[in-house]
């Protein structure tokens, strides 16, 4: 069932502070199977309870995995401890790690990326809204659940709030989502856009993809290269920041890596050349996708599945 998550996802939450507790309640309400919490010295004792739901809380990831067979971790741990929390999951061979935390030091992420490369674990984030998969009721993140609905379009974005914006438009246009992934806005993240595109390309439950990028970096060019080389499913792309004035240049050497490639124009040109359909306006992502699906004969109006 679509990518990264499925009906067998057994979620564990790391970091049961106020925000972690609020968010995991909303995931429980959404129907997500949460099997464990990890929070050394958790004030609530060894169990977390919300309405009819409850799950055990352990001091370490290793114990949580051993006792509950958790296979996915969501991290709400504050920035100073976030990299440590990710490393703890890698050490425990947790297959999928999603880190929401904003403000993780970049040198911590250098260590994390190096550890990930030598492991079987996959990382989404940090500084991201997480992953949501409406059909399996898996909400591994901070999404407002009401705007999402099951369907055949995948969404991948660097920005969190733009996932919600794009999905709101899709849902209003009668287009449901297979899986929505916010890869995160930091310089160093786990899986990047092209890796998620590859997952969608290989996913029988996804017929088309919305790709939302931003100015800066080279990730969209890598995504464009993948689309051109391997992608047969339609991609609708939007790049935020086309009208942002170039910031005061501090003359740092970053420009030598990306040069002009960091601009929205360069990214849009690469994506257009790769065959992506460009939505110039962020307000037209939904209508553009509807047109693309209709042309491909893949538009499934809500309720159509039941009528067939």
């Amino acid at each position: 069932m679509s990518i990264l998550l499925n009906n067998r996802t057994r979620l564990m939450i790391q970091g049961l502070g106020n925000e972690g507790q609020n968010q995991i309640r909303r995931s429980l309400d959404y129907g997500t199977r949460v099997v464990a919490g990890v929070h050394p010295g958790f004030r609530g004792g060894d169990t977390f309870t919300h309405d009819d739901h409850s799950f055990p809380v352990y001091p370490t990831v290793a114990e949580a995995v051993e006792q509950t067979q958790a296979n996915c971790s969501i991290i709400y741990v504050p920035a100073p401890g976030a990299a440590d929390a990710i490393l703890e999951n890698i050490a425990a061979d947790v297959p999928l790690i999603v880190c929401i935390t904003e403000g993780v030091p970049v040198h911590d992420m250098i260590r994390v990326r190096s550890a990930i490369a030598n492991s079987e674990s996959k990382l989404i984030g940090p500084n991201c809204p997480g992953i949501i998969q409406p059909a399996s009721k898996c909400r591994v993140g901070i999404h407002p659940p009401d705007v999402f609905m099951p369907g055949n379009v995948g969404v991948v974005s660097r920005s969190g709030t733009l996932v919600y914006e794009a999905v709101d438009q899709l849902s209003r246009a009668g287009i449901g989502q297979s899986t929505c992934v916010g890869v995160g806005g930091d310089p160093i993240i786990g899986e990047q856009q092209q890796a998620i595109l590859r997952r969608f390309q290989n996913d029988p439950d996804t017929d088309a993809v919305v790709l939302i990028g931003e100015i800066g970096g080279l990730a969209e060019q890598a995504a464009a290269a993948y689309i051109k080389r391997s992608m047969t499913k339609p991609v609708v792309a939007f790049i935020a920041g086309a009208t942002a004035p170039p910031g005061r240049r501090m003359g740092h050497a970053g420009a030598i890596i990306e040069g002009e490639a960091g601009t929205a124009e360069a990214k849009l040109a690469a994506l257009e050349d790769a065959g992506a359909v460009i939505s110039r306006s962020p307000a037209e992502i939904g209508s553009t996708m509807r047109r693309v699906l209709e042309e491909a004969g893949k538009y499934q109006p809500p309720g159509a599945a039941e009528n067939e």
Binding site: M109, G185, P187, A240, T243, P245, I256
Partner: protein, 428 residues
Amino acid sequence: MNIHEYQAKEIFRRHNVPVPGGGAAATEAEARALIKEHGPDVVIKAQVHAGGRGKGRVVKRDRASRTYNDLTREPGRHEGQISGRRRGGVRLASGVEDGLKEFRPLLDKDNRLVSIQTGPEGAPISAALIEQQTSIAHEYYFSIQVDGASGQPLIIASAEGGQSIEEVNRTNPRAVLRIPVDPVEGFPAFRGRTLASQLGLPSSAIRQAGEMFANLYNVFTEMDASLVEVNPFVLTGEGTVLAIDGKVGLDDNASFRHDGYEAWRDRSQENPTEIEAEEANIGSYIKLDGNIGCVVNGAGLAMATMDTLMLHGGEPANFLDIGTVNRKDRVVEALRIIVNDSDVKAIFINIFGGLARVDIVAEGVVDAVNELKIRQPLVVRLNGSNVEEGRRVLHDSGIDVQTADELGDAAELAVQAAATAARRRSRN
């Protein structure tokens, strides 16, 4: 966070990276003492958080904008890194009297250093770095930064230093070496010696250069730097290597484990409104040229909101990512900054709640309208977490506000409101 060259060099010195003898002066007495100690032949360098100092100009504040236009119109016309005509931000002098003559205009509070990187306001000069002059046989470039794609540190080096590395990369890309660093191995001295050899340094300087590169890598990791750049480091006439420039960018996210960061911060180099926004803890704010004040959550949505306004013929007055709002007083503080901007003719609030709860945002908007006596027309678009309560709060408050559910419709309303307000203003 950027720091000054003299601060970067203090860090270099502590990590055994060779730098010229010298120090920072903020007063004439300090300058005099430094020239006596390190002179008679000295170089005096204005300390600002911007590059292009040597080709820049030190001018009275009220001439800054005109000078900036001159510089950006014909960037090639202006003299080189170290100006013989003594009007830039990097000056040579000989002896105490000559040195003080060059030092005084730099520290004049009415003066600004204008370079192609400072913007039209120019930069106030916080101090001057006074160093002994160096005999230069050859100039090289060296930097370390984070490469997001590989997730590894990346060293960039070139035997064509002392000029813009972007320019070298454009005209002679083969002269630019790129060396990805395995973070587990780090950058031990033997890697440094290999690089020194690739750069064509003479055999006698290779051991010292290798150690300098390894030590600069230690600066990068131990200081949690996002950038360490030395342009140029030089081979001296005596055959040794020396970092005669130094730039260090620090990762603000790591400030919790570095007591030193706060002391190195120089607020005089930052935009006052942006500092005000930071102190009010309302996320990230950048002033722009238009007339529609924006309050948005999330950097991506904030940029997309600006894009939408411009596609509808409007112009944003600012970029403001309010971040995750779970306290209504932050909304009030954000709107206070927007309302106090005299360019703002209409206000557009666009919040899509995820972590943020839009009912709290709505309460903040109501408080702000009552507290700040907002006169500009207000367009509010709420969506996401707790949206029904948010919309009810707005509706029940009775405040004068236009609302729309969809981004495009809301942007259209904001553009019309700004246009109407601007027309009304111009009629009066």
